[in-house]
Symmetry: C2
Subunit: 397 residues, 2 copies
């Protein structure tokens, strides 16, 4: 059976090679998208020498401490006068060529029409001048291709004149839950039924990595209905299909069998991890179009944890999004682990104290406990039964 | 002049007391929203004893190592048979009352119609049973009021039957840039002009904290036009107004004066920080409606940094969103700081190495450098000229 790291490598390889198209989006919609082109300064930035402060623009001469002031320049109101005297100048205003230094407001006082340097003020030539092209030269790359855009990038893009940006299209995830136990969210569970939460949870997880999803609802363990639904999903516009349930070795675990009948190639089945051992990964190619397929376990916690540790990291990498932070922390309870699988145990980490507590009920169905957690404790294959006081690796979720 | 911490306290107080309404959103739209109600389990979770694995359900008796198997139960297909022999059982299937233990597939082999325990298998009474209500009892709070919803909360909400959730409305930010130097994004800057980036950058920053914004464009330093625009903004549906530029002590810095004429109460003007000393904070109350007003400096880097350090933390707190992580790191260059303001200097931190580099050009206009940074180095009032090798505090941005 594949190890966790082997599975990650295979998935990453497929996802990084998965072809995605580009689209132009307006600068208003570009936040959280990833550039498919470099953005280049079309002018020097700044494109003129200007003042970093409100003050007076002067020609620096050693020992001179007062200046006649006879004009003023504010940002955006430069005129090409020949200045004989010094001038008042506002932040961002263009500095006339004749001046080389700006003395800030707090360093002088006005006496009649002259500025007189304060006794304690220290000035030097060139102070408070922002030089032309000091941020970037014309044709310099301001934002590289494959940048995941933050607010400061958006401002940077504007300075390149980019009112539209070429970005990678979002991946479209199709999500289907399977299982005879499932009932809709607005029914009250009776007997051995369970509300279907996987579609909603996974769809939210897809939103959090800035991709799109289509909810295909849920299907009970009826071979024909399931086959029709999976056929529909394979024909859809989705790039990645995620199913939950029906992929283990139980008698009604039809998902893998039907995918095979429908022409999906198995890349792997089963990974030596907990939760989520029965995960299936496949690929469907038809008419030059590809889809990647993840069949995750049906348990709501397992499917979300599997998405987080197996699917998400590669998507983040493909879109140059930052990976979840990892911390080492002191475990504040014992964890039972008698096997050599890699375990992912949900917990609550206090980053300031560097301490993590995992939940008492670690049954993979514990959605209530999982809902309150903020990290997964990752326990390697060789580690058995980590104890209170041990240092463990935590992944923020 | 107010210190940074004094200003933060005042802003936080106003924002936490700012009244926001609630709205119902469907579970599909609830990700990244904040609950205005507690979500409560309407049934025990799980609502029946069930199997944690695929295997056989047995009544445990010490020393017994083989069991006649005469039926099977899959998830969602429980029937009220009276079981005489043991049964096969699938993950999630309801455990009949007569059984107390589930032995997993890998621990036994089938010989004819009997399951025979493997030699090395260790079994114990109660193993692999998920007990009714072990996750949560009926009426237990699954998600508290004031929870910022993640993907795992969404699944948790579904288990409470919440197809709609009562959440706090998003704040609406109105954003206006001012300055005679500003030109639209699709023009090429000539002479002393500059493309207007503040609206786009701040609007993106608002999106990142999951609030809404309205872009009011930009206005040159024309008193009457500016007054009309600010009047329009005060009449709008916005909760918070942000202007950039025109708030310092320059001759064309009309913003503060006009706000005062229009009935905005000054809460403070100027904070002893860099960048962004001239920040103005005010409040407008009219017909029982309130608006908070931030007039930020015009410089694009300053306005974004001021938003990040002064505005954002209180909004995150109000909506129970996690605060940006802070790290201590080793500074890998010198920083010039000759005054007792609190400084925020953009830099690139390597979290694994615990090292941070700040940019060489720290003129507050350096959008190109700022665009590449991932943190702000926060240098306290008393610290002067931190050196290569010093430990500094970094805020992730």
């Amino acid at each position: 059976m594949l190890s966790f790291l082997e599975a990650c490598t295979i998935i990453e390889n497929e996802i990084l090679n998965f072809e995605i198209n580009c689209e132009k989006v307006s600068i208003e919609d570009a936040i959280n998208r990833t550039t498919a082109e470099s953005l280049i300064a079309d002018v020097d930035l700044p494109s003129f020498n200007n003042s970093a402060v409100d003050g007076i623009a002067v020609k620096y001469e050693n020992g001179i401490t007062n200046w006649k002031i006879s004009d003023e320049i504010s940002a955006g109101n430069f005129n090409d006068s020949e200045y004989k005297d010094s001038v008042e100048i506002m932040t961002g205003a263009k500095l006339p060529e004749i001046f080389d230094t700006v003395i800030p407001l707090e360093d002088y006082r006005m006496i009649n029409d002259s500025a007189v340097l304060n006794e304690n003020a220290k000035i030097c030539k060139g102070m408070n001048v922002r030089y032309k092209a000091s941020d970037a030269k014309v044709n310099e790359v301001i934002i590289s291709k494959n940048t995941f855009l933050t607010a400061r990038n958006i401002s940077g893009a504007v300075s390149c004149g980019s009112s539209e940006i070429n970005v990678y299209k979002k991946l479209i995830f199709g999500i289907l839950a399977t299982g005879d136990e499932l009932i809709p969210i607005n029914e009250t569970p009776k007997d051995d039924k369970l509300r279907v939460s996987n579609n909603y949870g996974l769809s939210a997880a897809v939103t959090l990595i800035h991709q799109q999803s289509i909810n295909f609802g849920f299907i009970n363990d009826d071979y024909n209905k399931l086959k029709n639904k999976l056929k529909e999903m394979l024909k859809s516009e989705c790039d990645i299909l995620i199913t939950t349930g029906g992929v283990s070795v139980g008698k009604y675990d039809y998902v893998k069998e039907i995918f095979s009948e429908l022409g999906v190639d198995e890349i792997f089945w089963k990974v030596y991890i907990k939760p989520g051992k029965p995960i299936f990964f496949g690929k469907y190619e038809n008419n030059g179009m590809s889809k990647l397929i993840f069949a995750l376990p049906g348990n709501p916690v397992s499917s979300l944890v599997n998405f987080d540790v197996l699917v998400k990291p590669s998507i983040l990498k493909k879109y140059s999004q930052p990976q979840p932070l990892k911390f080492k922390a002191i475990l504040k309870n014992d964890i039972k682990k008698n096997d050599t699988k890699r375990h992912f145990v949900s917990g609550i980490i206090d980053v300031n104290k560097n301490e993590v507590i995992t939940h008492s009920s670690q049954s993979s169905g514990n959605l209530a406990g999982f809902s309150k957690s903020n990290c997964l404790v990752e326990i390697n294959e060789k580690t058995l039964n980590p104890k209170n006081g041990d240092i463990v690796e935590c992944i923020m979720i």
